[in-house]
Amino acid sequence: MSRVATRSAFATFRDQYAELMRSAFLIDLQYRASIAIWLLWGITEPIISLGIWWSIAAGGAVDGYTREDFARYFFGVALVNQATLSWDAWNIDRWIREGEMNFRLTRPIAPIHEAIADNIAYKAPTAVIILTAWIGAATFWPAVRIPFEPGRWALAIIAIVLAAAIRFLNGYATGLLAFWTTRATALVELQFGLSLFLSGRIAPLSLLPPQVVRAAEYLWFPYVLSFPVEVLTGTVTTGGQYARGFGGQAIWLAIWLLLYLLVWTRGRRRYGAVGG
């Protein structure tokens, strides 16, 4: 019996993934300078927010947040945001508008796997770069040191991976609306704008008006950024907080996965290729 025949479907799938990730990584390597610029672009927003809060907190703690707390929080935001960024809607928009979706549909593997591989190949190395910069900063700036608690760090990694999955599916499913409308990316931008507040990009959630925070907790926004950051920095402490956070992540992961499947199966049927 030949080796090929005994290969499980899983092994084939795994090899396809490895190949997709390898090629995505090699392409990224060609664009090192561009990636450096995107990295810089990603960290300026938290740096600006930190700068403003740092000045505001000059006179003392702001609702319990000292300058050092803000520093740790926004370093966490920079890291988690890099690991959970979502840009796929713009790719899908182009694929559908310019007909690049066509050859992707003929492949034996759904286009979402190419996007996932692409995301992993980009985010893993760049998140490590930010982490290295953080460790570097922590050696001479005690404010950004976080306590040595390997158990907590492990939980933070799980929370970050779940957050990345939710945000990815959220962006991808919204992007697939491009099957119906030419303004799918505008919907992504709308969510991006709301996430300034509801995800805690501009400030820790506890500094927002309580009604806003309560509303946010019914949506996915806090679970894709604020929660992983607060696990990392040590703001999340009680079992109840952990349960609510991971529970929210599990629910929203399931919801966005279902929404993706729905939009993908419906949209594909609706698709009429461009060109040719």
Binding site: I37, L40, W41, I52, W54, S55, V62, G193, L207
Partner: protein, 265 residues
């Protein structure tokens, strides 16, 4: 001055064509307007959030910061209307060799590249931004003086010059780093910092924004002119910064252009 007159004629022809083209996409106007209003709202909510926790931001009261925010939006509108569709395309032109077609034309290349295209709908951002500044100014309860208006007009022109110079500088780098396609993302990132008065930042960032990446001169100074924070000597300094920035960027452009060897072929 036939050179300038010829340039103006060329420019008029471009913009007319451009206008006719854009008229076909009136739906874009509504979409872009909605987008601008949405982001203005988000920006104002952000400022409101800061002011929930502090009475002043770098010594500026709430409505004064909103005046500044309006100016920021107006300048961002200038970027979207003229710079991004014009000189923002330079890296692509350099990579593809399309710059050849620019260089053979009988007009100054920098002039042509900079002003070849207008995203006219984004002019609404400029109007909305200035309207917001006007509204916030009225709310702040200040009275307007002729000196403040003149100083604002001058420093706002300086701000446009500085922003333009930053774009020329960044885009000229495309001649060295051909593979870098997202140079404008660098501007977008750093310009975000100009949403707030430069005095609201800690010392290190303030130094960076005043001297190294001169965005402090783009929003803080015109807003200072309107809110009575600008003394005449600072206004003169601002004019100096504008002239130096324009001159330096022109110089860099010329050095950069010498490196251009076309593509393909």
């Amino acid at each position: 001055m036939t050179g300038i007159r010829r340039a103006m004629i060329v420019l008029r022809a471009f913009w007319q064509l451009n206008w006719l083209e854009e008229l076909q996409y009136r739906g874009n106007f509504i979409a872009s307007l909605l987008g601008t209003v949405f982001w203005l709202l988000m920006a104002m909510l952000t400022v409101a959030l800061y002011f929930r926790h502090t009475p002043r931001l770098g010594g500026w009261e709430y409505w004064d910061v909103v005046v500044l925010l309006g100016i920021f939006n107006a300048l961002a509108g200038v970027v979207e209307t003229v710079l991004r569709p014009g000189i923002g395309h330079l890296p692509t032109d350099v990579r593809s060799g399309a710059l050849d077609l620019v260089l053979v034309r009988p007009v100054d290349a920098q002039f042509y590249v900079s002003f070849r295209r207008l995203d006219v709908w984004r002019l609404a951002d400029v109007v909305l931004g200035l309207a917001l500044s006007g509204y916030a100014f009225a709310q702040s309860g200040r009275t307007v003086s002729a000196w403040a208006l003149i100083a604002f007009a001058v420093t706002f022109a300086v701000a446009i010059a500085v922003v333009y110079a930053i774009w020329v500088t960044l885009m000229s780098l495309a001649f060295w780093f051909v593979a870098v396609e997202n140079m404008s993302a660098l501007f977008d990132a750093v310009f975000e910092a100009a949403r707030y008065p430069v005095s609201a930042y800690p010392g290190a960032l303030r130094f960076l924004f005043v001297y190294l990446i001169p965005i402090a001169w783009t929003t803080t100074i015109p807003a200072s002119a309107l809110t009575g924070r600008l003394n005449p000597s600072l206004a003169l300094w601002a004019m100096g910064v504008g002239i130096v920035a324009l001159g330096a960027s022109r110089l860099l452009w010329r050095v950069a252009l010498k490196r251009y060897t076309s593509a393909g072929g």
